[in-house]
Structures are given as structure tokens and as C-alpha cells.
Amino acid sequence: MKYISVMDKKGNIAVDDNILVKDVLSTAGSHILDGFTPLFSAEAVTRLENKGYKISGKANVGEFGLDLLGETSYYGALAEDGKIKNAAAQVVASGEVEAALCVDLGGSPRRAAAVENVTFLKPTYSTVSRYGVIACMCSAEQIGVMAKDAKKVAEVMSVIAGHDDKDGTSDPKEAYDYSLTEDIKGKKACIIKELLDAADDAVKVKVLAYKKKLEALGITVEEVSFGLIPAAQSAWQILLSAETCNNLSKFDGVKYGYRTSNFKNIDDIYVNTRTEGLGLLAKSVILYGSDVLSKGRYEVCYDKAMRVRRVVTESFKKIFENYDLVLSPATSTDSYAQYDLNDAFDKVFSESKYTVLASLSGTPALVTSGIQLLADAFNENILLSAANAVEEV
């Protein structure tokens, strides 16, 4: 199903179901939030509504946004011809809405935009308030905008971005540069060899076609090597799982959402509610996260992962001393086949190689024409201008 709740049939913005809208069922695709209607709206939603945008409804997402495209939603995933589909990307691609707000946690909206051939921007961490996001990995997740083209993305971004006192990690600036008019001629881009090599042929063709288009606009494109991707993926798996494990603990059947009917005492409420209310991928992430934070494991897992994150971030940002843009695949394939959901944990973390650099380092990523452009923090205008220039050719 595409919508968990339809709010306004004429609405022009879809909102992923892990972003809160006041008094509207918000489940994050999980049974455990059965019947949960929040008391307040996410800051990004409020800002859009204040500017006259109308929310069409809550788009279905995979449980807590952890999966590839939305296939783990308790409320039924989208699938056609043996392919899995993403709800927000579907309603944007079909023109039902002008744009969608999606939480980029593990790269799900980036993959969705790539396979549906729409545009998605994951902005720099801390530029869009996370107030009202059903959180998993607070140190990385960001609300981003999905739309048909860079222009629409820029328009919606300029409404939702900017400091919010309610988010203690929010960047102090009130507004950011989302202009499409940056002169891109003479800019330098690079392709990370390891990422290109890992993708299938159809994706390689897209990346190389985009390379030609950039070159035609006067951007030089070189190839570089970046050896830290496996390390980044391991750190990512540890950090995402640990934070998610902690953030999902509050769903315990005591206060709201689903509660088991099978209990005699508080321990039963905890165990049975969570056993019955959470899906397999969420459970796997919780177990893994619980392990890496436990006594004796913290130093060798979590603490080490944080140090790896710093090293990866520093090395990745070094690329931007020489280049303005990184051109990369967003996915390993241009469509995802349905798969055995018992394998979701491995699938999700192996597919993270394309999205992990921007997620770990908090830098922006723009998916357009089925490929991904990366830039240094706060350089969204370069991403948007390049994508817009290619679109206009």
C-alpha cells in the first residue's frame, strides 16, 4: 500500500510515515506503533504547512526506515513484477504529489529515487530539524526532499531547512544556499573506483553516461581510489544498530502503541509486546546493537566504530580539497527484486556501501538520473546546480 493514512487527496506533499503529523496515525511501518497518533507535528511538516503546502498523507515506509526500499513494512510493502517499490518514490514519479519528505536513515530514499528515476536530496546533517522524526540513528539520519527535479527539491528544501531550537544538534544558521545558478563550468568531479566497480553493468552505464554529461558542461571528471569503504560499512553497521537498539527500546507496550494481550507481569509485557510487535529486521538490528554496546564489547566495537567514523569522515572530506563533486552509483542495481526477508539484515548492510560515506560524515548527497552526486558539507548549491544544468541540457 502507498499510504498508511490519506489526509488530503489534493495535497501536494507526501510525508513518510516515520515523520510525525499531529493527530494522524504515525506507525513508521511498524506494528509496535499500532494506533499511535502523535500530539505534535515534525518541524519540517509545520514549516511546509505554514507556507501553504498541503500534506497528501503518510507514505508507507519499511519498518523504521531500516530496509532497502520499504519491503519490511508491517502494513504491506509495494511490489510489482517481482520488484520491490518505495511508496514515496511512486507517488512522486507518478506526479500524484509534487514532492515527498523522507527520512534518509540507511539510504532508503536515495535508493528509491535512483530506481524510480526521481530526484532526492539528503542535506547536510543538522540543517533540517529532526524534531518529529521517529528516530533510529540520531547521529546520522536527516529528513530530505524527493521530487521530480532539482528545482522542486531546492524549493521545498528552502522551506524546511534552518535552525530549530527544539533540536539540540540543529545548526545555528537560519537559511542555506539552495540556488541552482552556481557556475559549474570548470568544477572538478571524481568517481570513486571501488564504488563504480561494485555496481552492476546497468548502473555503470548510467554513471558513465552522467560523466559524459558533466564533461559536456565543462566539468572535469577523474577517477580516484578510496579504500576505506569496507571499514566505513562495518562502523556504520555497529553505530546504526547501537543507536537504533537504544531508540527502539521505548516501544515497550507500557505507554502507547501495541501491547500484547498475553501477559501476567511487566516482564511479559516487555518481552511479548516486542516479540509480537517488531519485525525481523528491527529485531536483528536490536540484537546486534545490544551486543556491540554490552560490557566488554563496547571498547572493541562501539568505541572503535566511532574512531573509524572519524577517520573515514576526515579521509572522505580530504577528497573535497581537490574536487567539488563525487559522482557515484546510488545502488548496486537499477531495480531490486523481491527477496527472502530473512536475509534483510545482510542485504541492507551490504548495500550500504553506496550511501554510507555521506551518512557517516553528515555530508549532502543528491540522487538524480539514477546516480548519486556527493559534495562537502553545506555545498548543496553545487549539487543542485550540477543536477539542474544536466536536466536542462
Partner: protein
């Protein structure tokens, strides 16, 4: 064999902040109903983010300064995970890796002298809610959830229950003095770590922890009872001591072990990514230091440096209200010596005469300042000033209006004064005669008459001058 008791304390104290640690809920102590004082953040709703309460940071720093701690100018918050219905987010935000204050020292006085107790650290954390059990269910009240606490952890430096009790009393008075915590009855909660060892040994014995103690009497009893249990175990092999967590049974007067399940938790601490590290820069730290209340000795010194005598300074410092009043006058550009005179002589005099306590009336500093300034400029006399102050204190009069209505402003009108002087000379022929015969004192009677005519509000200098001129004619 003689044994030595070794004790370390962890004390939880609620900070006197206006709002909770990470949300703007406040006033939980006045909450009438359960869950009166909650918001989506402090009841663990998804989508809410913590915003650190700056005042809680400042109060924790003050606690550190009171206990001679080193302040960590870079301090961070961490998540401590466990499941319990009184903990709505299923984690408590606390400071595990970088506590705000470390390495302190506090003097504790006992019957055998002064002991120095080391403070290992002070950290800030949020309180949990409360469970209310009924016959067939349990209810949760989140009013206390996320109320800011500090936990003050000592080194194992106590050697007797007496030292512990004295420390807790000292702690309470220091925290109250600096406005850090109200330390309400039962609101200081202690965990007591205790072991015994042969006197002279420097190896620590098996340690047990007695959790969640608040009454001083129980703390003293529990320490003594637990020490005897340990010594019996060592001396008479009554039992084998194990490192464990125990509770105090206030009825049976003994400690008993807590269920293992309650203590075996792995809290899975990790840094809270939603709370940015708090950086207390030098400027902020200095502001906090400057806002600390001064000790009595420091206050006396400060006033003597401003120009008061030791006696005056000590008299002012004896009452916080007087300190406040004097500082207020000084801030209004009134000479400290003059202000102290008005406060100590006139203000206190009026209070004493009318049997009023200083704390029972609120003297408006603006009014006192008006009286002092007006008297200093000569627009009212010193005596009139005292009358007006009395009216301000007793009737809450407005001094300016009072002077105008009662015609108390000093008269400098020459014609008026001349008229009054003529009248005074005519009314006192005997005094005039005496004066002219050389009795200078006789002048006072004529002067007094004139002043009375002007209801005490004539310019003394002018009256005297005109009187002398008139008599010389």
C-alpha cells in the same frame, strides 16, 4: 583484632532548577495530580529531542565549586539503558564518560577533629518517575521523570558513621547556602559502599553497597549494623562475605541482599548523540563563579574594602536582607558609609522600636534611596528623613508624596523664613533679652520656635543666618 571501617558515598540531590533537565516542564513539586507536569519529551514519546537546561549545568558547576572540585569544561551526556516502567524512554541520560566535576575535597568535622573527604566526581542526570501500586495493577506517574539531579560520589575516605553523618550535614548546608538544592527532607538519597579491614591494612575488604538511604538516623544505624556483620563474618566466620547490593530494613534493623536480577543489569552506556557536548568556556565559568554567594568572611572583607568599619560590616553581614539592601543602595550610587548609617541606625532602629522583623516587611530600595538622596541634597532634613522612613516602613507610604502632603520639604523661601523669624523673636522676648545679654544658648529657644513653626522643614542654615541678622539689627 581492631578493625577499620571504610565507606564511600554516592549521594543524589535534586537541583533547584525552574524546569526539567531536557524539556521545559517545571514545577513538579507543586503538581497536584499524577502526570500533571509532563510533556511528550519526558514521557518518552517518539520524535522528541532533548535540549539541555543551562541552569542545571550552572548549578552543578556551583556544587563543584562548593566542594573544591576541578570543573571539566568539556562535559558530555550518555545514555544508560534499562527497562522499567518508571523510565519512559527506556534509558536515563546521565554522565558516564565525562562528568562535569571531578577531584574535589571537603572538610568534615567530628568529635575527634577535622577529616578530609575526597570527592571523586559529580555528574548530572535525570530522575525517573514513580510507580503507584494498587491491588490489581500498577500505575506510572511521570511528574518526576527528567527532573535534574546531581550525584556526588566520594572516595572511600570515611572511617566512621559519624564522619558520614557530618559530611551529609555539611553537604546539605553548602548546597542550600549556594541555592543549588533545597535538600528537602528525604530528598537526599545515598548509596553507601562499605567494607572493613584490620586496622593498619591497606588492602580493601569485600565491599557491599546499601542502596537508597535517606534518613540520617537510618544511615547511621545501617552503617553500624553492616560493619558489625562484616566484622562478625571475618572474626567468627558467621558467613562468607560477597560483593553485593543490599537494602536496609528499617523495621528489623538489618540489611538484606537485593534480588540478583535487580543488580545484574548491563546498562549499555554510550554517548547521547542528541546532546551536544557542553563546553563551559572561561567566560561562562567566571560568570558562574561571580554569581556564587559570598561566605560571611568574604562579605565582611568586601564591605571593609568599600570603606565600612569592621563593626558596621559585621552588622550588615549578619542579615542577608541587610546585605541585599546595602548592595542595592551602593548600586544606586549612594555612598556606602552613609547608606550603612541609614540602614543600621534608622532602619533597624525603627524596626526595633515597632517590634518588626526585617524579613516581615519588604522595604522598597527605590524608596530608601530617595530618602537618603533627598536628605543628602538638603531638600529634607536628616530628621525628616527618619520620619519619612518610618512612614514608609509602617504605612508603606510613598516618600515623595508623603513629604509633599505633610509639607516636609525644606523651605528655602526667604520671605517665609523672615516672617517666621520675626514671629519667633516677638514670641520669645525673654530669650531675645538673654541672648543680647550674652547668653548664646538662648538662641536655641528662638531657633527651635521658628523650626517648629515650619514643622521641622525649614532650612536650618537659612533660619540661623536670618535669625542672627535680625538680632544684630
Amino acid at each position: 583484632m581492631a578493625y577499620e571501617i571504610v565507606i564511600g558515598l554516592e549521594t543524589h540531590v535534586e537541583l533547584s532548577t525552574k524546569s526539567k533537565l531536557f524539556c521545559s516542564c517545571g514545577g513538579h513539586s507543586e503538581a497536584n495530580e499524577p502526570n500533571d507536569c509532563v510533556c511528550p519529551a519526558c514521557c518518552g514519546m517518539p520524535g522528541m529531542l532533548p535540549v539541555v537546561n543551562k541552569q542545571a549545568i550552572e548549578l552543578a558547576v556551583k556544587a563543584g565549586l562548593m566542594l573544591n572540585c576541578k570543573i571539566n569544561q568539556y562535559t558530555t551526556f550518555d545514555k544508560k539503558s534499562y527497562y522499567y516502567p518508571d523510565l519512559p524512554a527506556a534509558y536515563q541520560t546521565t554522565q558516564w564518560f565525562n562528568p562535569i566535576c571531578v577531584e574535589g575535597l571537603v572538610d568534615v568535622e567530628t568529635s575527634i577533629g577535622i577529616s578530609k573527604i575526597g570527592i571523586k566526581q559529580i555528574h548530572v542526570e535525570e530522575d525517573a518517575g514513580k510507580l503507584v501500586h494498587t491491588n490489581d495493577s500498577s500505575l506510572v506517574d511521570y511528574n518526576r521523570t527528567s527532573v535534574p539531579l546531581i550525584e556526588i560520589v566520594t572516595k572511600p575516605d570515611f572511617r566512621s558513621a559519624e564522619e558520614v553523618i557530618s559530611y551529609l550535614k555539611t553537604l546539605k548546608s553548602k548546597l542550600q547556602f549556594a541555592g543549588i538544592s533545597e535538600c528537602e527532607e528525604g530528598a537526599m538519597r545515598c548509596d553507601i559502599n562499605i567494607s572493613v579491614r584490620p586496622e593498619g591494612s591497606d588492602i580493601l575488604g569485600v565491599r557491599t553497597e546499601i542502596k537508597n538511604m535517606s534518613s540520617l538516623t537510618s544511615i547511621e544505624e545501617a552503617i553500624n549494623k553492616e560493619a558489625i556483620r562484616h566484622i562478625d563474618a571475618l572474626e567468627r566466620r558467621t558467613e562468607v562475605l560477597v560483593q553485593e547490593t543490599r537494602r536496609w530494613d528499617d523495621v528489623k534493623k538489618r540489611t538484606f541482599p537485593m534480588r540478583n536480577k535487580e543488580t545484574a543489569a548491563d546498562y549499555r552506556y554510550f554517548p547521547d548523540p542528541n546532546v551536544m557536548p557542553v563546553v563551559i568556556d572561561d567566560k561562562w565559568l567566571q560568570e558562574i563563579k561571580d554569581s556564587m554567594p559570598k561566605t560571611i568572611d568574604e562579605q565582611v572583607e568586601r564591605y571593609m574594602a568599600l570603606g565600612l568599619s569592621q563593626r558596621e560590616a559585621a552588622a550588615i553581614v549578619s542579615e542577608p536582607i541587610l546585605i541585599e539592601l546595602l548592595d542595592d543602595m551602593v548600586s544606586k550610587d549612594i555612598d556606602v558609609k552613609a547608606a550603612a548609617g541609614w540602614i543600621l541606625t534608622d532602619y533597624l532602629g525603627i524596626l526595633k522600636k515597632n517590634n518588626i522583623q526585617a524579613k516581615d516587611i519588604a522595604l522598597d530600595g527605590e524608596k530608601l534611596a530617595w530618602i537618603i538622596k533627598t536628605a543628602q541634597s538638603g531638600e529634607i532634613t536628616r530628621n525628616t528623613g527618619k520620619t519619612v522612613l518610618s512612614a514608609v516602613i509602617l504605612e508603606n507610604a510613598d516618600p515623595k508624596t508623603y513629604c509633599e502632603q505633610n509639607n516636609l520639604m525644606v523651605k528655602t523661601d526667604l520671605d517665609l523664613i523672615k516672617k517666621v523669624v520675626v514671629k519667633a523673636i516677638e514670641a520669645n522676648p525673654k530669650a531675645v533679652e538673654d541672648y543680647k545679654a550674652g547668653k548664646e544658648k538662648a538662641l536655641l529657644a528662638i531657633f527651635g520656635f521658628a523650626m517648629r513653626e515650619l514643622r521641622g522643614a525649614g532650612s536650618p542654615d537659612l533660619i540661623r543666618q536670618i535669625l542672627l541678622e535680625s538680632l544684630a539689627e
